[in-house]
């Protein structure tokens, strides 16, 4: 079964644009208007690629990732920042390991779709290329 995509963004227009784009490609999508809603989806069992905005009210993208990691909700997911910030601020320090990619808005739809398909394929790989030491 294909893993799903979660778009976490406080802007309705962005969520709707991404939702329409991904649904037209047959991708399953879940939306969250903020960090708390994102955490709720993860606690309910969401596994997949999380497209995360940085600048959001109440809980921003970095705080949301810290909560994901601290609550043990990262495993089985890929986090991709989808942001208007050309480059990340220093608050990303310490979170590099958990941020697989960084895509800036406005995004190229073909490039976004290619990246999402690639990250979905990563999550579908089975364990055991060789034994961990």
């Amino acid at each position: 079964m294909d893993s799903r995509i979660m778009i976490v963004d406080d802007e309705d227009m962005i969520r709707e644009a991404v939702e329409i784009l991904l649904e037209s490609e047959g991708m399953g999508i879940v939306t969250a208007a903020g960090g708390k809603e994102c955490l709720g989806h993860l606690k309910a069992g969401f596994k997949g690629v999380i497209l995360m905005d940085i600048m959001m009210p109440e809980m921003d993208g970095w705080d949301t990732i810290r909560e994901i990691v601290e609550h043990g909700l990262y495993e089985g997911n890929v986090i991709v920042m989808l942001t208007a910030m050309d480059s990340p601020d220093e608050r990303m320090e310490g979170l590099q390991e958990y941020v697989t990619d960084y895509i800036t808005k406005p995004f190229n739809t073909d490039s976004l779709l290619d990246s999402l398909r690639y990250y979905q394929s990563l999550l579908q790989l089975e364990t055991g290329i060789n034994d961990r030491q």
Binding site: Y74, E75, V78, M81, S87, P88, M92, E93, G94, Q96, E97, Y98, V99, T100, D101, Y102, I103, S115, Y118, Y119, S121, L122, L123, L125, E126, T127, G128, I129, N130, D131, R132, Q133
Partner: protein
């Protein structure tokens, strides 16, 4: 027989796709390729398997005590620092994060020793936030190696490559596809080492 030459690649956010582009057209090299990617445990094997599907060389997670061999790609596992003993044997250690990360590119690169005559060390810094790898680049230059950095345009985050270039010790700046070509040239002994950027 252990590897004659070593290519050590340091990379972070944006790395999986940059590595995919780098390895997609790279023929087997007369070198062991060691990748230090900022990645948590649990994701590392997925990256290794994914790279194995596009690379012309076998890809494995580096194991503690393992000897490096040419024409193979070794990915540092998440949650450990990777160092090389005598430029040939992998040592994995736990401990404090360095530059906020584990594995750290600086830790891995600074464990490299001056190579024996006719053996080559090549450092590559790809996309990523922060400055991990800059000290490693400095060290590789000091021991007579060659440094390559990803260009700004193709980097998801131009942080680590920028910090590397700002040392003044990076020899070549390219997108991933051209880094592949340069690795082939360098390891076939055709290229000049003289063009510092």
């Amino acid at each position: 027989m252990t590897a004659n030459n070593i290519v050590m690649i340091g990379v972070s956010t944006g790395g999986p796709i940059a590595l995919k582009h780098l390895f997609a057209n790279l023929p087997p090299l007369n070198a062991a390729v060691v990748i230090v990617l900022h990645i948590p445990p649990g994701m590392d094997y997925r990256i290794a398997r994914s790279l194995a599907s596009v690379a012309s060389m076998p890809v494995t997670l580096a194991g503690d005590g393992e000897y490096l061999h040419s024409r193979r790609i070794y990915l540092a596992p998440g949650g450990y620092h990777l160092t090389l003993h005598g430029n040939s044997r992998v040592v994995l250690t736990e401990g404090a994060k360095v530059n906020f990360v584990q594995p750290s590119v600086d830790v891995a690169m600074k464990s490299l020793l001056k190579p024996l005559r006719r053996k080559r060390i090549i450092g590559v810094i790809l996309t990523g936030m922060g400055k991990d790898g800059a000290e490693g680049v400095r060290h590789i230059s000091e021991i007579g190696g060659v440094n390559i950095a990803q260009d700004q345009e193709s980097s998801a985050i131009y942080g680590m490559p920028k910090a590397a270039v700002e040392t003044g010790l990076v020899d070549f700046v390219f997108p991933p596809e051209k880094i592949s070509q340069k690795l082939v040239e360098l390891l076939s002994g055709q290229a000049s080492y003289s063009s510092k950027v």
